[in-house]
């Protein structure tokens, strides 16, 4: 159980304090980017390509410009004059801001309309006439590498094919040898579908350029305001917008999930428009634009293999990835990791050897992919390992839980060095799985399943015992465009003992205003309610790389601890001075220093802070402020044991998740209620790709489900009643032993569900189904196996 060191009044770690930010959200007083209203604002709308691949023959803006209230129609040719028509991606590829001659995917930006009202802008958008010469697109990533495939990136003079990069890690020869000699090998081809974060708030900005001061204020939906400002300065420095002239403000954000890390063309066009016209320009995407054009996630085709012994010892895994990036690699990974942390693919198991490789290709689809609520491609890796582990269990006829126990990395093997080069900080995988099995009554479920199978009923039990890898990251390996992936905290305590703290991260619903305050409360004993948290304004907050990849607690949270500890050291000196004893004679309990053996002689933190402004020791700096930039020594490795039970209707194949037990280990937990909320949301975003979501394209590159009528985001109705719990294995290198929780459920849930469904279909010889697994997909699989009665007329 979680033990609290502080009182409820202080509400440090372990207290389920209500979220401080919720007052304003519940009252409808959040301040989102569309709520930013500046005098004289103009509105931007974007003309988008109806084709996946086409030459632009002509753009005729004359009719649009005739509409009263339309100020400008901006095209790629206009931006070309300022050399702003291309921009770098975070992966050092290049992306069009607006095309000069070729469109590369359906819904790509073609031109922008600027008008005095958003309604006029939308009418004008319809009035812009674009003439296209349609070309045959490359949609299938496998065909993208064919010798006769057209080379898509003709803008790159040296490019002779659609291959972007190759990556590999592990023991190639040893693994090859093990596979040749192994008693048992299994192999499955899997697709982790192209999906979209579909956050409730779409992307948007208000770009406000002041011609007199040559200063840009950019209100925008970004998870990484500081890094984005640097990127803007790199892109627009040559037209005079250097970094000190740019202020990025990220107001309240209605969900990010990785989709608000990239710089989208719309942001840059809005800046260009404001720069040229000298007025604020607002751009807010609508739902379809968000879904069709903004960065996708996943889209990995994985060949996963496992070699082991007949009695269940796993010996090696081999994974080969084909990554479909769309027309440019616009991933949001740390720069040195083109496949992100995919190499976590040996999971929770003690693999002596592994080999993983990946090739990325260009296709005529929107660029990406972002890390959708996951630490850079971990979801893909976890899916592959958890599915292939079950496939192996099926092959040798062993219970998947027993197989996992047999192969887990044991508690005493930590710090554990994986064959792909990671040092896992800590873990207790057996404890998690035992708790989950107890929670769901695993043994009896298997008995029930056996009985149901006799009656032809479809019931499945699926496990996922995953290891996450979050908190990027240590500066020796982790940077984005050269900027190291530290994060920061700055604490200022006012004379009356209340505080403000600012961070380089940016909450999008994670509850930072509460949890950061609790971390500081834990360390300083100042009540969390007295600590105001601010993020998202580059003019006021210290520099940091932002919030994604479950990195806020591991990095900025740790920075808060370190800054608070600097202040506690200072407090001790002041207390010693005030109480006229030596520092060694003092004892700390949350909120006060007292003299050892004389507890009545004490000073509260508030008294000490006041003294720091009114009566500080000679020679000491006045005030009570500290800043820390935290460079984590390692990543953190949260883990989880998830078990789910599904029942499948044997007539309609509708799938019901009957129960889902999720045991997470995120180390020490700051606010159990928030952590549980994160797990609930994450699990729902886990059933999404497992059963519902996929962006689907036809052979001409048209998106077939570009609205929420057909892109199926699950709701409370589809969600089972989640059963959550946790084990606590602190991170040994994190100052408060916290590991991060936000993404585990999204990462761990899909394979648990897929494994359960495949398990339900085991009697019919089905060994694998790609997610999303729908009733229709089950029907087709059973039909292919010839197990459906052929009573259906063909027509």
């Amino acid at each position: 159980m979680i033990q609290c060191k502080t009182s409820k009044e202080i509400s440090g770690m372990g207290h389920s304090m209500k979220r401080k930010e919720d007052d304003r959200f519940i009252h409808g007083k959040g301040n989102y980017v569309d709520d930013v209203k500046l005098p004289g604002t103009l509105y931007m709308d974007i003309v988008r390509s109806p084709y996946a691949y086409a030459k632009i023959k002509n753009i005729d803006s004359s009719e649009a410009l005739k509409i009263p209230g339309v100020l400008a129609v901006i095209t790629g040719k206009d931006l070309e004059q300022y050399n702003l028509h291309w921009m770098p991606t975070l992966m050092s590829d290049t992306q069009m801001v607006l095309p000069v001659d070729t469109v590369m995917y359906q819904a790509q930006e073609v031109a922008a309309v600027i008008a005095t009202e958003k309604y006029i802008a939308r009418d004008a958008r319809e009035a812009v006439r674009v003439e296209y010469e349609v070309m045959k697109p490359v949609v299938d990533p496998f065909k993208a590498l064919d010798a006769d495939a057209p080379v898509l990136r003709t803008d790159k003079p040296d490019k002779k094919d659609n291959h972007i990069w190759h990556w590999e890690v592990g023991q190639k020869e040893e693994t090859e040898k093990i596979f040749q000699e192994a008693e048992v090998t299994v192999k499955e081809q899997m697709h982790i579908p192209r999906i979209h974060v579909a956050s409730i708030e779409t992307c948007g900005c208000v770009a406000s350029y002041d011609k007199i001061d040559n200063h840009l204020t950019m209100y925008m939906t970004t998870q990484a305001p500081h890094a984005i400002r640097t990127v803007f300065a790199l892109v627009a420095g040559h037209v005079g917008l250097t970094e000190e002239k740019i202020r990025v403000i990220s107001p309240d954000i209605g969900g990010g999930f990785g989709g608000k890390v990239p710089v989208y063309p719309g942001y840059v066009i809005a800046i260009a428009a404001s720069f040229l016209i000298g007025k604020p320009v607002k751009w807010i995407e609508d739902r379809s634009e968000n879904l069709q054009a903004d960065s996708f996630a996943r889209d990995y085709h994985i060949t996963a293999e496992l070699a082991g012994t007949k009695d269940g010892k796993i010996l090696a895994t081999r994974m080969k990835v084909l990554a479909d990036h769309g027309y440019t690699d616009a991933s949001a990974n740390p720069s040195k990791f083109p496949t992100g942390m995919f190499s976590i693919g040996t999971g929770s198991y003690d693999y002596p050897n592994a080999f993983m490789e990946a090739d990325a290709v260009y296709t005529n689809k929107p660029p990406g992919g972002v890390a959708y609520r996951c630490s850079f491609r971990v979801t893909e890796a976890v899916h592959a390992i958890e599915r292939i582990t079950d496939r192996f269990a099926l092959e040798i006829g062993k219970d998947p839980a027993a197989l996992r126990f047999q192969n887990f990395i044991k508690k005493d093997q930590f710090p554990y060095h994986s064959p792909t080069g990671w040092e896992y900080d800590s873990g207790d995988y057996e404890a998690g799985l035992k708790l989950a099995m107890k929670g769901i009554d695993y043994d009896n479920l298997r008995i029930e399943q056996a009985e149901k199978r006799k009656k032809g009923e479809l019931m499945g039990i699926g496990l996922s015992t995953f290891t996450e890898i979050v908190g990027a990251g240590p500066s020796k390996d982790f940077d984005i465009l050269g900027i190291k992936m530290f994060d920061s905290a700055e604490i200022r305590v006012h004379p009356t003992g209340k505080a403000i703290a600012r961070f380089g991260t940016k909450s999008q619903g994670q509850g930072h205003e509460t949890t950061y305050a609790q971390i500081i409360a834990e360390e300083l004993g100042i009540p969390a309610k007295d600590i105001q948290i601010e993020e998202g304004d580059t003019d006021t907050a210290p520099y940091g790389l932002g919030t994604y990849a479950s990195r806020s607690t591991p990095t900025a949270g740790a920075a808060a601890v370190m800054a608070a500890r600097k202040l506690r050291d200072k407090a001790k000196k002041i207390a010693a001075y005030l109480l006229e004893v030596s520092e060694d004679d003092l004892e700390w309990e949350p909120g006060k220093f007292s003299v050892k053996g004389a507890p009545e002689k004490s000073k509260t933190i508030q008294e000490i802070v006041f003294a720091s402004y009114t009566n500080h020791p000679q020679g000491m700096e006045a005030g009570f402020e500290a800043t820390h930039y935290y460079d984590p020594p390692n990543l953190t490795f949260p883990s989880g044991a998830y078990i789910c039970v599904v029942d499948i209707d044997s007539d309609t194949f509708e799938i019901k998740v009957r129960r889902f037990v999720a045991i997470d280990d995120a180390g020490h937990i700051i606010n159990p209620m928030i952590a549980q909320g994160q797990v609930h949301g994450g699990l729902t975003q886990g059933i999404a790709p497992a059963m519902y979501e996929e962006l689907i394209y036809d052979d001409d590159g048209n998106i077939l489900n570009g609205t929420l009528m057909d892109y199926l985001v699950p709701t409370a109705v589809e969600s089972p009643s989640w059963e959550t719990g946790h084990t606590v294995t602190p991170s040994p290198h994190h100052p408060i032993g916290a590991k991060g929780i936000g993404e585990s459920p999204t990462v761990g849930a899909p394979p648990a569900i897929a494994n359960a469904i495949v398990d339900a279909l085991k009697p019919y010889g089905i060994t694998h189904l790609d997610i999303p697994i729908t009733p229709y997909k089950i029907f087709k699989a059973l039909k292919d196996k010839g197990v459906l009665d052929k009573n259906i007329v063909e027509s």
């Binding site: 309604y119 007539d651 077939l704 199926l712 589809e718 007329v793």
Partner: protein
């Protein structure tokens, strides 16, 4: 998601609405609950120049039983049909279907008249109306006429409601003897249009012999479809398993689904067979519960 510009009038009587509709011709559209029309306008699939809002017109929203007939005003909201105790006695099918239409927001505003007048085979109420043998009343400047539900649906977005006309009432005969009805659809998630849906209404005599069967199918044909052979397969039987299986089989054979993201033709036929069987059984059960 912004419609092109349009004019808007909210007349306060049916006559006024009909006059406006007549004067403005096919540039105008009736606005009822707006939950089919407005999404289409936002996507600019529909660009009417004029909207005539029926929401201020009195006397179009009611549920009443008159002379053995249930009468429902065109502007009656889905939620009202879902919650009416009067209806539930004979027609539990209304609660079945309403619960499967979108979400509470849509049902609080969407109307039964609009659901039919929209003429979309993906909507759920048309199949229910087929099963219940509804009669639709349509008003024009020249007066009112009635159309049997079998003659109501012409084609995609096209119904017996002609230019200048307004759908005013739906009437449904109330069965005198033992009866039961039920609706279900398979959907990909809550709020989705049907992959396939089946409405069944059965009447039987005291011996349990089926005297009348109505079966309507959702979204498996260009127009809402009556499963004629299935109905015939039930009438005169004791609704035994063999008769039910045959009726279900006929429904799967007689529908004309098309392949889309929801599934291919085989799958949809499979669904129709499974759901038809279930809905017949459920209707039968309900008939014997009363």
């Amino acid at each position: 998601m912004i419609p092109s510009s349009f004019d808007y009038t909210a007349p306060s009587s049916l006559d006024e609405a009909l006059k406006l509709l007549h004067d403005l011709g096919d540039d105008a559209k009736i606005l009822a609950g707006g939950h089919s029309l407005i999404p289409m306008m936002k996507l600019r699939f529909a660009e009417p120049e004029h909207l005539i809002d029926l929401n201020n017109v009195p006397g179009l929203s009611y549920l009443k039983i008159e002379g053995g007939t249930l009468k429902i005003g065109a502007m009656t909201r889905e939620v009202e049909t879902e919650e009416s105790a009067d209806i539930a006695v004979h027609f539990p099918i209304f609660a079945d279907v309403a619960k499967l239409i979108a979400d509470p927001q849509v049902r609080n505003f969407g109307t039964l008249g609009g659901n039919l007048a929209h003429g979309d085979a993906a909507n759920d109420q048309p199949a229910v109306m087929l099963a219940l043998d509804a009669v639709v009343e349509i008003a024009g400047l020249d007066g009112r006429r009635t159309v049997g539900i079998d003659d109501f649906f012409y084609g995609f977005y096209s119904t017996a409601v002609q230019e200048g006309e307004i759908l005013t009432e739906i009437s449904i005969p109330i069965p005198s003897g033992r009866s039961g009805n039920a609706y279900h659809k398979v959907e990909r998630k809550v709020g989705d249009y049907a992959t396939g849906g089946v409405a069944v209404h059965l009447e039987m005599d005291e011996q349990g012999i089926c005297t009348k069967a109505g079966i309507g199918l959702t979204n498996v044909n260009p127009t809402p479809l009556r499963a004629v052979r299935s109905e015939a397969a039930l009438v005169g039987t004791s609704l035994d398993d063999a008769a039910i299986a045959l009726a279900a089989q006929y429904a799967s054979e007689d529908c004309n689904p098309s392949t889309d993201l929801r599934g291919d033709i085989d799958y949809k036929r499979h669904i129709i067979r499974a759901v038809t069987k279930r809905m017949i059984n459920k209707s039968k059960e309900r008939a014997f519960k009363n």
